[in-house]
């Protein structure tokens, strides 16, 4: 099980990191003084009293970016194993790897161009489109 030993170390390191970060927050909470007043606890709005609820609804653009990120990152995860074995693919049959990924990339580019042409990446539009 030699191969998994580094992962155990990473797990230990992760626990240590979160422990240190959490510990710092906890210790700092003990030291800081605490004299809350109503004004202090109000949400900051440049000095005036907060108007309305803070949790406003956002333009759908923000969500669209998230979704495009998800779809494109799914495409990218297919590139990773391809890149790992690419040299082997070239050795086995020269053009197979590049053609295989070429088709994949071509389909991706169709989607990209469609999304782009429909103005999904056009943020100036978002101002009007709340």
């Amino acid at each position: 099980m030699q191969i998994q030993q580094p992962y155990l170390i990473v797990l230990v390191f992760g626990v240590a990191t979160v422990g240190v970060a959490g510990g710092l927050v906890a210790v700092a909470a003990l030291f800081g003084q605490r004299k809350p007043t109503r004004g202090k606890l109000e949400p900051y709005e440049c000095g005036i009293r907060a108007v309305g609820d803070a949790r406003v609804r956002f333009p759908v653009k923000f969500y669209l970016v998230g979704i495009m990120f998800l779809l494109f990152s799914l495409e990218v995860i297919f590139f990773v194993p391809w890149a790992i074995v690419y040299r082997d693919l070239v050795v086995q049959s020269r053009l197979f790897g590049v053609i295989e990924m070429g088709i994949f990339l071509f389909i991706l580019v169709i989607g990209y161009v469609y999304v782009w042409q429909r103005g999904a990446f056009d943020w100036a539009e978002a101002e009007r489109d709340v």
Partner: protein
């Protein structure tokens, strides 16, 4: 370190899948139901990986190509599940957002446009 018996994986997978099914059954919030579906897909992924390891050498006997490649069948499925799950989430959340804009609700019991 001893290898973990495959049965442990299958049981974890079964438990997570059952929790996912329960989530779909008992909740009415569309977002939560969706997350529960993702949980089920994850449980299936886990079963795929575990069975790939379990069946690895057996698959080698059946296949024609190199043993390494054949032993990876289960794992290869997982990456396709990931892709399909991602696409599903993208479209599903788009539907949820569009739905919310119209009906101001996420309750699946109140969304009965398709019913007549």
């Amino acid at each position: 370190m001893a290898a973990i018996p495959t049965s442990h994986y299958i049981m974890l997978s079964a438990a997570l899948f059952a929790v996912g099914v329960l989530g779909v059954l008992i909740r009415r919030n569309a977002i939560v139901i969706f997350l529960a579906i993702e949980l089920m897909l994850n449980a299936v992924n886990l079963a795929f990986v575990a069975m790939a390891r379990h069946m690895g050498p057996v698959a080698t006997k059946m296949g024609g190509a190199t043993g390494l490649v054949d032993a990876m069948q289960g794992q290869v499925f997982v990456i396709f599940v990931l892709a399909v799950a991602g696409a599903e989430v993208a479209v599903g959340l788009a539907i949820i957002v569009a739905l919310f804009r119209h009906k101001r609700t996420l309750d699946v019991d109140e969304v009965n446009l398709m019913k007549w």
